[in-house]
Symmetry: C2
Subunit: 338 residues, 2 copies
């Protein structure tokens, strides 16, 4: 975590005081994150350094901090960001990274299936144990705040998150997957933690239930939109991305929203052809089909609608640069290409 | 968890009031355990039922309950077992089962290496996700007690446990492993949770620090002895056991105490021959060697010494049936054949 990527706030003017404040907060969040993972065992520290490869956009920590700042008028809202918010922000990022590391077990297994089995075993185990180390440290870090409600809330969120992963796993290769099930999976595996980052960030800042819940709904809508955009990118990624990501969902038998819409479309004939493309793993043909059928646009529109709905949830927070930044982040979630 | 195995108290007279009390407490612990894992998602409940295959001796829950009862004279000590102890007992068992489930990822990977790859991928992922679900629920369950010290203590224990697994992983195939490193691994991956089960059980019963720490040390010594006995069984298991367990440690490049002692022995010539046996995976030859060299007996004596030391830790708790049962359990740890 030594080098940070703040794609979201990079969009903003460097000199902008809010961007500066958040940037310096995130540096402290990173310090809390790194200090928590420090072990007296060198081999543990060496492995923990691998998680830099999983470093993301720091979306969840930013939402924790901004949700705190959003609970009061500018610039007073900045004073709502307490030391506890850095701990909470580092905790949600650690939970998020644990899920990425364990998702990686699946990727390594993929490689294994293609025959590259050397070190795959230890790599697989290292990923499992490192993920466990992250989950454990996340709960330990959160416990250091001494607030049982936070532990209980985050424990519930991670239960929900695991349930989402398990439901997704049980629906692998289920080409009959309907939209309600798709959204239930996404709400649990992705939106629950993003929503909790906002809601708990606001709660810890002393916001009332109405404001905390509104920010929680903002985060949930944002999280679902984020996952739909991930789906779209995985399906439609450019040639540059093909190597690293494109088509992975399909290869894993995971249906993305555009494909769900395509397969559930009215025309049974087009469904048959779509299934052929999927089963013959013809990503190019499938891309053409989701475009031609309009199911890609339909999925995009769902994401855009969720972003619009998310922004609407913020009506009850004071207007100003913090709310503006949250709006900007909401737009960025569906505009991004990586 | 619907059917329980209480190997330890099965040794006792069924009518014995303490055995009866513990048996009925464990039934309630199991109810707490099952209720915690109950999900609104049928596929999650179906997978969670798999953990019955990982069901153990309920050693840790028993130690939580008995450590509480040991903090006062018989029979008043029984009243020291509070509803919170059932929650703590279910929590430590859930943490333990999570480690068993994730160890299973390794076993499935073994199968995969032998070429049986059909369903290995999904089996592997299911094991990872189920383990995560158990860890998450363990922390959520513990948080329901509303005692931040418990969360912090258990978070620290699971950090230590993961570190033990990671150090063991990094020493896989290290035939130079010395005893201090071996004991550091065992203390972290096994003894830390057993010790915490005793110490936290006593703390929750209102014991003073001296008694809580003494019970914690009892559990730590017991945990190390338990692991050494596991090592011995894995290495020397009967033909019946061979199929399911014997030699697994060696196959995974994990050194057991008898083999550590054999390889670190004075006689460099015998070390060379021992290494030949290990690298040619000659379990039968290796067994003969650890017996002939006396390193098996030496390892057994370390375990017996730890059991003796563990019993000595209990000098500060009131004499009576509870302390007697803890002594019986300590002996059973090294007497068991499974």
């Amino acid at each position: 975590m030594s080098v940070l990527r703040f794609d979201m706030i990079a969009k903003l003017d460097q000199a902008e005081p809010l961007a500066e404040a958040i940037r310096s907060e995130l540096v402290q969040v990173t310090a809390v994150f790194d200090a928590q993972l420090e072990s007296d065992q060198p081999c543990v520290n060496a492995l923990a350094r691998h998680i830099e490869h999983y470093r993301g956009k720091m979306l969840r920590p930013m939402l924790v901090l901004l949700s705190a700042a959003a609970t009061d008028r500018w610039p007073a809202g900045l004073a709502r960001i307490l030391p506890g918010h850095r701990v909470l922000a580092a905790t949600v990022e650690m939970i998020h990274m644990a899920t990425l590391v364990h998702d990686d077990v699946l990727d390594e297994a993929e490689l294994r299936r293609k025959g590259r089995t050397i070190n795959a075993l230890s790599g697989n185990e290292a990923a499992v144990m490192l993920g466990d180390y992250l989950i454990s440290n996340a709960f330990h870090l959160c416990s250091s705040l001494g607030d049982p409600r936070l532990n209980l809330a985050l424990g519930k969120v991670t239960n929900t998150l695991c349930e989402g992963e398990l439901v997704q796993l049980s629906n692998r290769g289920n080409w009959e997957l309907d939209e309600p099930t798709y959204f239930e999976i996404v709400r649990r595996k992705t939106a629950s933690l993003v929503g909790a980052s906002c809601e708990l960030g606001a709660e810890l800042a002393g916001a009332n239930d109405q404001v905390s819940r509104a920010l929680g709904r903002f985060g949930e809508d944002l999280g679902i939109a984020f996952q739909i955009q991930d789906d779209v990118l995985d399906l439609m990624g450019t040639d540059d991305e093909v190597g690293k990501s494109t088509g992975r969902d399909l290869a894993k038998g995971k249906l993305t929203l555009p494909v769900v819409k395509l397969l559930r479309g009215e025309c049974s004939d087009s469904r048959v052809r779509a299934l052929d493309l999927i089963q013959s793993n013809d990503a190019v043909g499938l891309r053409a089909k989701v475009v031609e059928s309009g199911s890609l646009e339909a999925a995009r529109n769902v994401a855009l609608g969720l972003v619009h709905q998310a922004k609407g949830q913020l009506a009850c927070v004071p207007p100003g640069p913090v709310r503006d930044l949250l709006h900007t982040m909401a737009d960025a979630v569906v505009d991004r290409s990586a």
